[in-house]
């Protein structure tokens, strides 16, 4: 592979050396300069935080950025250390990564694949980032993951829930801590069956794009396996703001459960519309009609307000968890910013720590060494219980939370309550599962 | 048989009969004036001739061919050019370019994609345009924006654009409207010169009787959409119906 992405950092040093000896400029191609892309040669190492700062997911992005800043602070020995103290691996000692002080650059994905890649490329090419992380939706995450594979840097995915990220679009240089659509289905279905009965009739409303489809497929398969039937799967345009014309047909469809495979503004609006049309008061065959939102986000639950009360869904992490790691993180984040972290903040904080630790354990920033260190890595103390970074697909396997909109919130952040912590065994699947088949990790790419 | 033959043309706008059974015959190489009080249908008739409007019924023959229902550019290609009451020129282009465009149209037809050749390479077109502009005494303003010309110059430019096409029939819509007497006389001389030096048939709509009687060989009088009389200038002058039509208008 002919690769010669060069950064100012490496060259700065070589250039300074050359410049010291010679008055004339020295020109050379980058490929011979270092072993891998953006090899940090100075006293610092640069990470690239690529989050949506504009567009509909800007609030998620802002929360991710806060968590990144916190993580950098902790890695460099500032603050109370957060989850570093609870993390099962003990290589992080507040001296940065491999003794190099951690610096960071930020970019705006705008929640668009093109913008996300442009921003990631500029962080790699211009700022010399050794690792890219972030994102708040699957399209950009998959696109940036592919870019990092080509460029030879590590990608630590942020909030991305599509099966494809570690399924057909998985890449050797990419890692995902967040859970996925299949896991949501596997965790949620038994709770749904236990609560609402095993003979329910479900009606899916699905955002008409890749993520929506994979989640719809996952949830339908998981619920059908437990005896539910699916009466209809209706795709809604992404640009919809008013879902009334999609909600109305649910009324007389014979369904008694509505599953909203929506995220972000779509989720807030479709849920609001569903409640507005009286679905929550409705009874079908003597049983209460139920609404399910498989992927919950607290920030978005806040947008739906009262409407989320009692509605079941799943989430990667919630601040009310009482394990040591979660408590330490909430304490540290809450003290600094005045409110508890979101699941997006949690996952990116973990990803940053996991990357730093992997580099320390590998003793090198070389992406291939990092990949080796992360593959099959088992850890604990980051809020989700014992966790495995599976080597076959670079997906984290850990417990999944089934949550419910809280009936009587005590404060503005107390919107969800954990109903059940689904054990990791229940959400584990075979790497060759049909929903994930079709892609290949390929070889790790160190670039250069 | 005239070069332009209009037969039984009718045009209604809602309840208004704008043209009622208009017949008109313009002889080749003649100057034919169409006069009539305001609202008599003169401009409507002109619009029907150039394809801006389509008559409800009737026929319009030019040089033995029907031009009815054809698109304005197709009608122009048969040899009919029109000068408007308010000059229709390309304000953003230079004077020379304004005249080059009709030259291209005459040479190349309705469409030809000259995307790579430069304008400067079109020597024949340029020379032709310059010649016409010299005839119109606009040679000093070749590179000025057309929009910057005076009203009179704009009229002459539009005339130049029409003449550059070497039309067989030139339609003039009140060519001296709003002009001072001296300018009007100049225009009359110009039109006379065109009449005498080029083989162009002209149909003129005009209010100014001075212009009409200086130029026209035949005159058609329209009133309320219908042709009242058609005759020589001498006979029209004292025609009682004509006076009635104009006086009637003066009264109310």
């Amino acid at each position: 592979m002919v690769k010669s992405l060069k950064t100012r950092r490496d060259v700065l040093k070589s250039g300074a050396l050359a410049g010291a000896g010679l008055a004339t400029p020295v020109i050379f191609t980058g490929s011979s300069a270092s072993a891998f892309t953006n090899e940090p040669t100075g006293a610092t190492v640069t990470l690239g935080f690529n989050v949506p700062q504009t567009g509909p997911y800007a609030d998620e992005g802002a929360d991710e950025l806060r968590a990144y800043e916190l993580a950098v602070e902790h890695l460099n020995g500032g603050g109370d250390g957060g989850m570093i103290s609870t993390f099962s691996s003990k290589t992080l000692d507040g001296t940065g990564i491999l003794g190099k002080k951690v610096e960071y650059v930020t970019g705006d994905t705008q929640t668009k694949t093109d913008a996300a890649r442009a921003s990631a490329r500029s962080m790699i090419e211009k700022d010399g980032a050794i690792m890219i992380t972030g994102g708040s939706s699957s399209g950009p995450a998959i696109a940036v993951q592919a870019l990092c594979q080509e460029a030879g840097v590590i990608f630590m995915a942020g909030l991305t829930h599509s099966n494809d990220t570690t399924g057909k679009d998985k890449k050797a240089n990419g890692f995902r801590h967040f859970f996925n659509g299949y896991m949501s289905g596997a965790a949620l279905a038994p709770v749904l069956a236990a609560r609402y009965g095993a003979d329910r009739v479900a009606y899916h409303l699905t955002a008409d794009y890749t993520w929506g489809w994979t989640q719809e497929e996952s949830i339908a398969a998981a619920t059908e396996a437990l005896g539910w039937s699916t009466i209809d799967k209706v795709r809604t345009p992404l640009a919809s703001t008013d879902f009334s014309s999609y909600i109305a047909p649910v009324l007389n469809s014979g369904a008694d459960v509505l599953i909203l495979n929506h995220y972000g503004g779509n989720m807030v609006n479709s849920l609001t519309n569903a409640v507005e049309f009286g679905l929550r008061e409705k009874e079908v065959n003597g049983r209460a009609f139920e609404i399910v939102v498989p992927l919950y986000s607290r920030l978005m639950a806040a947008g739906a307000g009262e409407n989320v009360k009692g509605i079941l869904g799943s989430t990667n992490w919630h601040w009310s968890l009482q394990d040591q790691g979660s408590k330490a993180f909430v304490q540290s984040f809450g003290t600094k910013y005045g409110f508890p972290p979101s699941q997006a903040a949690h996952t990116v904080y973990c990803q940053t720590l996991l990357y730093a630790d992997a580099v320390n354990r590998a003793g090198s920033f070389n992406p291939c060494a990092v990949v080796e260190a992360l593959e099959g890595f088992e850890f604990d103390g980051l809020g989700n219980g014992p966790t495995l970074y599976r080597a076959e697909d670079h997906q984290c396997f850990k417990d999944v939370l089934v949550v419910q909109g809280k009936e009587n919130p005590e404060n503005a952040f107390d919107l969800l309550e954990v109903v059940e912590i689904t054990p990791v065994e229940q959400v584990t699947y075979d790497p060759e599962h049909p929903m994930f088949a079709g892609g290949a990790l390929g070889e790790c790419n160190p670039g250069a | 048989m005239g070069i332009l033959e209009v037969r039984n043309v009718n045009k209604r706008f809602g309840g208004l009969q704008a043209l009622a059974d208009v017949n008109l015959s313009v002889q080749e190489n003649a100057v034919h004036a169409i006069i009539g009080p305001n609202g008599a249908g003169k401009s409507t008739l002109l619009n029907c001739l150039v394809g801006k409007l389509i008559p409800d019924t009737g026929t319009v023959m030019f040089d033995g061919q029907s031009v009815l229902g054809r698109k304005p550019h197709e009608i122009n290609q048969t040899g009919i050019s029109r000068v408007f009451q308010t000059p229709e020129i390309f304000g953003d282009l230079t004077v020379l370019e304004n005249v080059m465009i009709p030259c291209f149209a005459t040479r190349d037809g309705a469409f030809r994609l000259h995307a790579i050749r430069t304008v400067r390479a079109e020597q024949d077109i340029m020379e032709r345009a310059e010649r016409v502009l010299i005839d119109m005494s606009l040679q000093d303003r070749l590179r000025d924006h057309a929009a910057s010309l005076s009203r009179g110059d704009k009229r002459r430019l539009e005339m130049a654009m029409c003449l550059a096409q070497e039309p067989r029939l030139l339609l003039l819509d009140e060519p001296t409207a709003g002009m001072a007497r001296a300018d009007t006389n100049k225009t009359i001389d110009l039109l006379k010169e065109i009449r005498d030096t080029r083989n162009i048939t002209m149909a003129i709509i005009e209010h100014d009787m001075h212009v009409v009687f200086s130029l026209a060989e035949r005159i058609t009088v329209l009133a309320q959409g219908a042709p009242l009389v058609e005759d020589t200038p001498e006979n029209i002058k004292g025609h009682p119906k004509v006076q009635e039509a104009y006086l009637g208008q003066a009264h109310g």
């Binding site: 002919v2 700065l12 410049g19 400029p25 020295v26 191609t29 980058g30 700062q53 992005g61 802002a62 930020t106 705006d108 694949t113 093109d114 890649r117 442009a118 921003s119 490329r121 090419e125 699957s138 399209g139 696109a143 794009y209 890749t210 795709r235 345009p237 992404l238 640009a239 892609g439 290949a440 | 150039v50 698109k71 304005p72 550019h73 197709e74 122009n76 290609q77 050019s81 029109r82 020129i89 390309f90 304000g91 953003d92 282009l93 230079t94 020379l96 009709p102 291209f104 005459t106 309705a110 469409f111 000259h114 995307a115 790579i116 050749r117 430069t118 304008v119 400067r120 590179r143 096409q165």
Partner: protein
Amino acid sequence: MAGLDARDTRFLLIVVALTLFTPILLQPFPESSSLAQFNAGYPDLMQRFAIFGIFAIGFNILFGLTGYLSFGHAAFLGVGSYATVWMFKLLSYNVLPGLILAVITSGLFALLIGYISLRRSGIYFSILTLAFAQMSFNLAYSVLTPITNGETGLQVYTDDPQYLLAEGGLTTTHIFGLAMNKSLVAPVGGWEFTFNVGYYFCAVIAIAAFYLSLRIFRSPFGMMLRAVKSNQQRMSYTGLNTRPYTLAAFVISGMYAGLAGGLMASMDPLAGAERMQWTASGEVVLMTILGGAGTLMGPVLGAGFIKYFENIFSKINDNVLHGWFAFLPDGLEDLLVTIVHPFVGKGWHLTLGLLFMLVVIFLPGGLVEVGQRLRRLFTRRGGTPDAADPRHAPKSAPHVAE
């Protein structure tokens, strides 16, 4: 030279020089200076300048010359990208077949949309093009996913056929073996310049595209288009059918957009559906008007301006701000950071919006008007007051008679 008169030749040479020296010109600050943040001489952004320059130049052929405001040009960009990526998937990573197919398909697509949309003019035309583009985007994002790969974006997978890919052949985009991502890095003193193959490939095509547009501007066809903008009625009464002229302009500018889209995919082999959205169409409108519609250089300036903002300003975070103002006393530092904060980083849209307004209010002719005003200021002193810039406004391109 090359069918141009002396002034245009000089102008073209200046553009060529500027383009070739872009990697140097865009790195004005030494790497160690705190202003290095504003350097833009890295491959991705330079490629974007060239690509969006092509896009805007093409758009300007339609809008600047004929006055027809298309709100759907991003659709052609998207079609070009998809076509190119499909060529990567089916043949190999050589960009040439992809670019050719991109230009052809976008031209055909433009022919279809233009043929229908040009039946109307004014805002009705704008809405028709907008409607077509939005339909393309919505479908590409959803039901056409088998062709476009939807939200994820069309990309090359290892199991794609790639019939022409030889064993051990390049697995990054290249032109006959010269990889697009190959760079030559030259450190000079404190500065560092990156000369990237991809950028120069884009730059050469951009210069060709610019030269072609210059020829079109100076051609009888260009004159006809300006005449259409000036007075359609007179065109008809001069025996010219305006439709084929506008359609030709529409198709040409659609092909430019397709070429730009193909180049985008060639620099970065992934095609996302968002590049077809109406906001992307709006962006090229903004670029063109901001730079100066109807001028040759304006659209390129506008494109550079907006891309610079999008890529440089959005990356200035509080951390960077504190770095800049660190020399000040703490209170003052925080105050300044607080004041600047809403306008940079995630607030770059705000700055961009304000700048649009300021430019439109005070510089109706766009950014090139700044140059024209400056030039006038100097030439007045020099004594030739109305030597309007020959490069730009077709309005002031009277050298047909020379």
